[in-house]
Symmetry: none
Subunit: 228 residues, 2 copies
DNA sequence: TAAACAATAATCCATACGGATTACTTCGTG
DNA sequence: CACGAAGTAATCCGTATGGATTATTGTTTA
């Protein structure tokens, strides 16, 4: 049996939602809210400055957020903090968003309208069995979208998913491609016929957009986490 | 509100299962079992000989059946009787079967272990809102298979074959593991409780054994060149 | 047309990295 | 017991990297 205590992170840009959720969870003593963030960027920053034993077990994540939305935060969070279970907690969204959140690594998808007991029991169920919580309405949407289009064709092209999820420009994709092959700035510059300084500038812009800070992290994201 | 009376079809090859299910539904007067069949072929034949107003609203379908299995019957049934909602009712199956049943046109997927009330409330919910019933465990499987497909299944631990091919020690494998996740020397040191200098020394030894000279090349070897 | 964005480029600084060398400890195995 | 292999640790050096800032040019679009 796992720990009885479950460390929970709440990520939502609206203070009202955060408080409602806190209140809902507070009735259940097994939940320990160890991290609250206003958006994905905030969340990742706080995570990085956290001691290992304070890393949350579960992140309850809204999708619509400024600075960094839920899909991006799940993709990055799941890559760098693989022990965290990401559960989307949101109002009813379109299939595309559901789909992208799941591909990013969400293991559950609950509607905000679910009541306190439902949420609690589903989270406990997940903690015990590993089975992610899914609201029936969401499951239905997933089924429909699966019937419509096969997943294979939706898998899409390599670097494109990074580009679409993180708004990389054409040039930045090109440079990322070379970067993750291990080329030096001067080599990238030579290959693209630009100054090494410019190559470096592009790389810095890419880091900002992906919210990482080293070439190694870029490679990790792209190669190991299949974000490519 | 739709009809209070819901016409139900039961398709299962085992008489025991049929009876258990009948019993479960009998507690709920809104269900009217109008058709019982032993397999898909039997089901379709009986359907064709039925008056229009006796066509069931819902078909509760087992998957493993002789003569004609559940997937085929759903595909054919959904084509010729588009008003019928097909709900798979089965024990826990592998992802592939779940997938095929959904693509064939199943609008719900329940586990046989669900209790009477759960099944009844989910069927009623579907009848009212059109939202198909899905057991949490099944929804979880679907999510997992979607994630796997999108991540494109890169094979298991490359580290072992690297180790065997290049005579890396246990400690070196351990360190390589952390290195290619993008950790700094100081982070590797902290994680393994050794000096960052030592971590670096190990990395230098690894580079020599692999005949490379940068972290990027290590990652390239392991991730892109698929293990080596 | 003005504003926003993309690509180009340079500079400064602190730090991380790759490379080489030296040294101490703890194991086994011969 | 002695020797080597593995793990530990420190130091010095030069280069590459990450981070921040500033600036010019062209393109797009509101």
């Amino acid at each position: 049996m796992p720990d009885l205590m479950m460390k929970i992170a709440i990520i939502d840009d609206k203070a009202g939602n955060r408080n409602i959720l806190k209140e809902k969870l507070s009735c259940h003593p097994e939940f320990n809210i160890t991290l609250v963030a206003e958006n994905g960027k905030d969340f990742l920053e706080k995570l990085r400055s956290l001691a290992d034993d304070m890393i949350p077990d579960v992140a309850l994540m809204d999708l619509e957020m400024p600075e960094m939305d839920g899909v991006k935060s799940i993709a990055l969070g799941a890559a760098f903090f693989p022990t965290i279970k990401f559960v989307v907690l949101t109002i009813f969204d379109d299939e595309e968003k559901i789909f992208r959140a799941i591909k990013a690594g969400a293991c559950g998808y609950l509607l905000k309208e679910e009541n306190s007991d439902t949420i609690a029991s589903m989270l406990n169920h997940m903690h015990e069995t590993g089975v992610g919580p899914i609201s029936p309405g969401i499951a239905h949407k997933i089924l429909q979208s699966m019937q419509k289009k096969s997943i294979e064709e939706h898998a899409g092209s390599p670097l494109k998913s990074i580009a679409s999820n993180f708004d990389l420009t054409e040039r930045e994709q090109e440079i990322l491609q070379l970067l993750v092959q291990g080329l030096l700035y001067k080599e990238i510059g030579a290959k693209l016929d630009i100054s090494p300084n410019t190559a470096k500038k592009h790389v810095m812009n890419i880091y900002q957009k992906l919210h990482i800070n080293s070439r190694a992290q870029a490679m990790y994201l792209i190669y190991d986490k299949g974000l490519l």
